[in-house]
């Protein structure tokens, strides 16, 4: 029996969550364990408890499908970050025209003179 929200890794493979639920024998499972409150905080999206619960369920379903990538043998395979065989692009270090400051600041929700204005970063 495979519990909901779990994904089967190769026999003997490492497990992300220590003490995760395992089948008797050699097969181990990686529960897709999401601390949704922490994830939403990292993403700076202020969700209600109800919304958090709903997203948590949906993410588990998607991640269980996505976790299939772990079943593909990838020993010695180098990761691809980018499809082009290029590393860095440089241009001559010359001064070029930039965007007009007033035009840029005109789009800001709040400003003070030539600056973007935001609420305080630090509590008193």
């Amino acid at each position: 029996m495979i519990p909901a929200g779990a994904w089967c890794l190769e026999p003997g493979a490492w497990c992300l969550v220590p003490g995760a639920w395992c089948l008797p024998g050699t097969i181990r499972f990686m529960p897709v364990d999401i601390d949704i409150t922490k994830v939403a905080r990292l993403a700076r999206i202020g969700l209600t408890a109800e919304e958090l619960a709903a997203y948590s369920t949906q993410l588990q379903g998607i991640l269980e499908h996505a976790a299939r990538v772990q079943a593909l043998p990838s020993e010695g395979v180098a990761p691809t970050a980018h499809p082009l065989p290029m590393v860095n692009a440089f241009r001559p270090d010359e001064v070029e025209p930039t965007l007009d400051r007033e035009e840029v600041l005109a789009q800001a929700p709040d400003r003070e003179g030539p600056y973007f204005r935001v609420p305080p970063f630090l509590e008193d």
Binding site: L16, A43, A81, L84, N88, P119
Partner: protein
């Protein structure tokens, strides 16, 4: 025939012959838009004044003997994730409501330099995340072949506009199939160039290692024309390709005799609707009859491509969309601290699919999970590329149905993200590999909805890709037009 139904090539020829003006062409698409927009909602913004001025300028230039190229005087639609100076650009998101960019995207500059008339900004799934255009914050776009159905997505607005004749051509962006799948569902030609050939400067980024801009048109010739107009090195895009562009014109009509065409076993079976499979097979037989050698190949890693994509794309989106924080543009909600302000603004500004993907990506990149998800997905990406490399040692192009289904009903998949994701199964591998691919209409299903045929080629293989696409277009004799276009055209 109504002017709005002409191809770019035909309209350009009439323009140069002095039979019509650019203003006439603009009036034709405006008239078509005024008769179809209430049903379709392909556009978020139509720039009537700017388009009129551009069309008049194009006419004046031609009268002086100045011809800026094949798009001179042609009204074109832009997906609303490409910035246009002074014209509202929203990405179909509330978080960019009212945003008037201070610059033009490189593709917009190039189109303008080529004399094109920017008619308007088209609807999309918010931030290009979706396959149906239902995720727009400003309402769903409908399919001109059947308004109860979706036009595909995320470039559904551009696809619908081009299909119905409220633009002669359009630009879309393709991260996992977002040009080709709506092309397939609307009976238009949708093309994703090789990664790096078209500048993304001014394309609001979704997943930077996958995004590419490309044309939606009614013919393969027009696709070539728009591709040639927008491709080329741009120092403003660090990923822009520096080598020479592929020369695609000279062999365009060379046919498929002697070409080796590969069918991908993993992408043409399970889950494909019978009518789609039948149209695909008929087209294969036509290609074989025209002298192509058809072979079946296996690309085993493509089975994992969808899973890898749904880790890589959300991971990159979670980083790219961090910039929408209520500081520099867009609306802001109040908060006592910066974090409160940002959290409130982002919660209010992003729709459910964008929120879902940001959360997914944030999770996949967070400490402790990076190697298991994002790192592993990047390795799968290498395996997919290796599979393609092996395949192209044996064949010139690969072909698949573009989408396993024809246009689905509005609302049918809206509540099931995973089912929606599966509609991109045939298009995602070439985003992971960075290779070019094109969807060409090849037939209709039993409900009269268009079916798309996808041609994939190796990186910089646009010449052979367009050549096979042109053969598919010619052999399949696809001339059907959506009901909404013909009923108006006859009126």
């Amino acid at each position: 025939m109504d002017l709005a139904d002409l191809s770019v090539a035909e309209a350009g020829a009439r323009l140069r012959a002095g039979e019509v003006s650019s203003v006439d062409l603009l009036d034709a698409v405006r008239r078509r838009a005024s008769m179809t927009e209430a049903i379709l909602h392909a556009y978020l913004t139509i720039d009537h004044a700017g388009a009129r001025a551009a069309a008049e300028a194009a006419d004046a230039a031609l009268a002086r003997g100045e011809d800026f190229g094949p798009l001179h005087g042609i009204p074109i639609a832009l997906k609303d994730n490409m910035v246009t100076r002074g014209i509202e650009t929203t990405c179909a998101s509330r978080i960019l409501a009212g945003y008037r960019p201070p610059y033009d995207a490189t593709v917009v500059e190039r189109l303008k330099r080529g004399g094109a008339v920017i008619f308007g900004k088209t609807n999309l799934d918010e931030f290009a995340m979706g396959s149906s255009t239902e995720n727009s914050a400003y309402g769903t776009t409908r399919n001109p072949w059947d308004p109860d159905r979706v036009p595909g997505g995320s470039s559904g607005g551009s696809a619908a506009a081009v299909a119905v004749g409220s633009a002669f051509a359009g630009l879309g962006s393709d991260t996992g199939g977002s040009i080709r799948q709506p092309g397939s569902l609307t009976g238009t030609v949708g093309m994703k160039p090789t990664y790096g050939l078209v500048s993304r400067y001014g394309l609001i980024a979704f997943a930077s290692s996958l995004d590419q801009i490309g044309p939606l048109t009614r013919t393969v010739d027009d696709s070539v024309t728009v591709f040639e107009a927008i491709a080329g090195h741009d120092p403003s895009d660090a990923t822009s390709y520096r080598g020479p562009l592929p020369e695609v014109r000279s062999a365009l009509d060379a046919g498929v005799k002697g070409l080796k065409v590969g069918i991908v076993r993993e992408l043409s079976g399970e889950g494909t609707e019978p009518d789609v499979a039948a149209s695909f097979q008929v087209t294969l037989d036509l290609l074989a009859g025209a002298g192509a050698e058809i072979r079946e190949l296996s690309l085993p890693s493509t089975e994992y491509a969808l899973s890898a994509y749904y880790l890589i794309a959300p991971a990159e989106c979670s980083a790219n969309l961090a910039r929408f924080d209520g500081v520099r543009y867009g609306p802001r909600l109040p908060g006592k601290s910066v974090e409160e302000m940002m959290s409130a603004t982002r919660r209010d500004g992003f729709g459910p699919e964008v929120t879902r993907r940001i959360l997914l990506g944030t999770y996949a990149l967070s400490a402790g999970y990076y190697d298991a998800f994002y790192g592993q997905a990047q390795k799968v990406r290498t395996l997919v590329i290796n599979d393609f490399r092996r395949a192209y040692a044996e064949v010139d192009v690969l072909v698949t149905p573009t989408s396993p289904t024809t246009a689905f009903a509005v609302g049918e998949k809206a509540g099931d993200p995973l089912a929606m994701y599966l509609s991109d199964i045939c298009t995602i591998p070439s985003n992971l590999s960075g290779d070019p691919a094109i969807s060409v209409p090849c037939g209709l299903d039993s409900s009269g909805l268009p079916v798309g045929f996808q041609v994939l080629a190796p990186a910089l293989g646009e010449a052979v890709m367009f050549r096979v696409a042109k053969a598919v277009e010619r052999l399949s004799r696809f001339t059907a037009r959506p009901a909404l276009a013909t009923s108006e055209g006859a009126a």
